[in-house]
């Protein structure tokens, strides 16, 4: 077993070797290197055929029409294109947008930008389990609401929103519905014939494809219009100009094709590993699971170890590549905004770790992780004045702390 062990599949995944092989076949002189927009020779035709096959493979995973798939540079660009593109196109109809506090920054910051342009945004607070109360969503609808943007699976806590139910509501009220599916494609079933979603963002690198490529699903019936954010040669039916990156697109297509074939078996194995990890740590005192356990992808486990600070735990778990809900490792010292939105107190938000499991995780790695976690929680709690106070029966909320 090689350390450090990768438990950060929600951040990114390694490219599947079968995908890498496909990518490599689209780079060199003896491969499919042509510009898919070249209509006048075989090189262009071959590249175009490869891109269109990939488009079919991506569409097939989510039961969409290939003509509804627009290539982008990733889910961040897809989110930007969907939200700003809709807002700019439909602003005469209204200037109100609804989203949720636990969305990815690509959605939240696109909304912030629109606020600066004069749009109004409602940020829904999720329930303590991370899920959105549909009645609260409905109550936020206004006459001038043009767009609702809700992610399918949350990147930090892995909870699955009821996209189908939300789609019924938005369609009924003639509001456009965008879904960030970066964390859900290939992890939980998506059927766009069944779900009344108008726009959906995808990323390749979360499901064993390459970084730097994504897609936006744009519904044809009823037709959704967008104002392009990237202008140029009119590629992708004018919605996103720029020469298509054949090798990356082919990689994304293959990754989505494999996901369709292997998702059920992959998920079953990953769920078994996640449950094994959970079983190995849940009897530790003062451990809290963040996010609903029933409506959740099997890949994710987000746990708070009370009275242990997340960054020091990550340092102790140097053999495990995990991420902290506390953003101390970045330049900001704020705890996770997602956990705060669930109403978790600062201590628990500061004490959280996200384990994300994937296609290449093994049982041996899970057992190793459990052993490391248990030993280091003990060690850090021995060092923690808060743990000592808790053990002495002191209510930490009764103490007047000097915030700094």
């Amino acid at each position: 077993m090689k350390t450090p062990i990768y438990f950060d599949y929600s951040a990114t995944t390694p490219v599947d070797p079968r995908v890498a092989e496909k990518i490599c076949s689209c780079l060199t002189a003896d491969g499919v290197f042509g510009n898919p927009a070249s209509r006048s020779h075989q090189f262009g035709w071959d590249a175009d055929a490869a891109v269109e096959q990939a488009r079919k493979d991506v569409a097939a995973l989510v039961n969409a029409d290939p003509r509804e798939i627009v290539w982008t540079s990733g889910a961040t660009e897809s989110d930007n294109l969907a939200i700003k593109g809709v807002a700019h196109f439909y602003q005469k109809k209204g200037k109100h947008i609804i989203t949720c506090k636990t969305e990815h920054k690509a959605v939240l910051d696109s909304c912030r930008q629109l606020e600066r342009e004069g749009f109004e945004v409602t940020y829904l607070t999720p329930e303590p389990n991370g899920l959105i109360d549909l009645d609260k969503l409905k109550a936020a609808f206004r006459e001038d609401t043009i767009l609702v943007s809700i992610m399918h699976v949350n990147n930090e806590i892995g909870v699955i929103q009821d996209i189908k139910a939300i789609g019924e509501l938005t369609r009924e009220h003639k509001i456009i519905f965008h879904v960030d599916a970066a964390q859900s494609a290939g992890k939980t079933p998506i059927d766009l014939q069944d779900m009344k979603v108008d726009l959906m963002s995808f990323s390749a690198h979360k499901i064993y494809g390459p970084k730097g490529i994504g897609a936006l699903y744009v519904r044809r019936k009823p037709r959704i219009r967008l104002e392009a954010q990237m202008h140029g040669g009119g590629h992708e039916r004018g919605m996103r100009s720029g020469t298509l990156a054949t090798h990356q697109i082919v990689g994304m297509g293959e990754a989505f094709r494999l996901a369709k074939e292997e998702m059920v078996a992959d998920n079953e194995r990953i769920r078994m590993l996640r449950d094994r990890l959970l079983a190995g740590v849940k009897d530790i005192e003062e451990v809290y699971i963040n996010g609903d356990m029933d409506h959740r992808v099997p890949h994710n486990l987000n746990i708070s170890f009370n009275f242990v600070e997340g960054e020091s735990l990550i340092m102790a778990l140097k053999d495990l590549a995990v991420s902290s809900g506390s953003a101390c490792t970045s330049s900001s010292l704020e705890p996770s905004y997602v956990l705060r939105a669930l109403g978790r107190n600062d201590e628990l938000a500061h004490s959280s770790l996200r384990f994300s499991i994937g296609r290449f995780t093994t049982e041996e790695e899970i057992d190793f992780a459990i052993e490391k976690i248990r030993a280091n929680i003990d060690k850090l709690r021995d060092l923690s004045p808060l743990w000592e106070m808790f053990k002495d029966g002191i209510d930490l909320n009764s103490i007047k702390w000097a915030a700094h």
Binding site: E309, S312, L333, P335, E347, S384, L386, A402, H404
Partner: protein
Amino acid sequence: MAYSDKVIDHYENPRNVGNMDKDDSKVGTGMVGAPACGDVMRLQIKVNDEGVIEDAKFKTYGCGSAIASSSLLTEWVKGKSLEEASQIKNSEIAEELELPPVKIHCSVLAEDAIKAAINDYKGKQG
């Protein structure tokens, strides 16, 4: 974030972890920081009749740099007079541990902790 070898050493082998009787008149206790901010440091010193710190203990909830800063501080204050200990500057701790700018607040907290412990001790002497 890459930690210096000194931070890692203090983090993996923290010195003087523990507690003393906070009601003992010879013991000064300083607790600084807040759980909401992600770090709480508790530093205790035991002062002899000559006004010299003869022992120091700490417990810290916080990142590796916070743990290392308080561990280092306990080593430094032992054998110092209260006057000398109160002169310890956060910049000296930060320099010794090679803390990056984003972690300077950990050394500030350590300086606050020794000052608070000294004040607590002095308050007890009436």
